[in-house]
Amino acid sequence: MIRPIGGVTLAALAAGLVMAFGVAPREATQGNVQRIMYLHVPSVWVAYLAFAVVLVASIAYLGRRSETADWVAHASAEVGVLFTGLTIATGSIWGKPTWGTWWTWDARLTSVSILFVMYLGYLLLRGMIEDRERGARYAAVVGIVAAFNIPLVHFSVYWWRTLHQPPSLMKPGPGTMPDVIVAALLVNFAAFSLLYVYFVAKRVRLLRREAEAAG
């Protein structure tokens, strides 16, 4: 079942690349370096998707004590951290030629960095508890706290960056972008979402097999 998902994912990623480099136009002010956006923005959207899944799976685990819910939470957090890291890295690489600096404390990079560290802590917690059942319980609680924290992070950082200060170059969302750019973003988002599903499925299967092996 997982292999066909992988196949479709590969096709979608290829389509995404075509959209990003072939179909999308060269941007007026930034030039072709703006194409990094088709990597950077879908990454962050998938990261949020992943952390939302962590929240749902965590609540499901505490409610039903289903091992599968625990595995899904674990896998989703791992893949979420992966994509969050990618978001930060690509954001930084995009920033260097655009603003002249590798790092800037703009709203998105700052929020995403906080998310990164939060869920990295989640993974660290899981790694440090030997007892599987307790690890699952505690991780679920942390997963819930972290998810509810996300809107607080957003508002606080956004106000910090925009009050008494002009907003940054990278707008928070599609907003007033031309259709073809939005289309390219959506195609890449779909491709990355499929990649997310593929990775989570494989990771859950690995967790299940590890649990079976441990007996």
Binding site: G31, N32, V33, R35, I36, L39, H40, S43, Y61, R65, S66, E67, D70, L82, G85, L86, A89, T90, I93, W94, K96, P97, E130, D131, R132, E133, R134, A136, L195, F199, K202, R203, R205, L206, R208, R209, E210, A211, E212, A213, G215
Partner: protein, 71 residues
Amino acid sequence: MADNWGFVLTAYGLAAVVLVAYWRRLVRREKELQGRRLASQPPRARPGVSEPLAPISGHPRSKPASRPPLP
């Protein structure tokens, strides 16, 4: 302006490297697990197998012996 294709390629290249590396890690761990399971598995016909390979439902509570001792 050189359009900074170097940066674009670095970004996409980095993403590809990271994602492929994660994929390979998953594949490798699964192969290891597969290998270990085949190595330790006795011949198929075993009448007295009591434990099913996968837990039936729910999350088993840890045995008291496996919990950390209280100070």
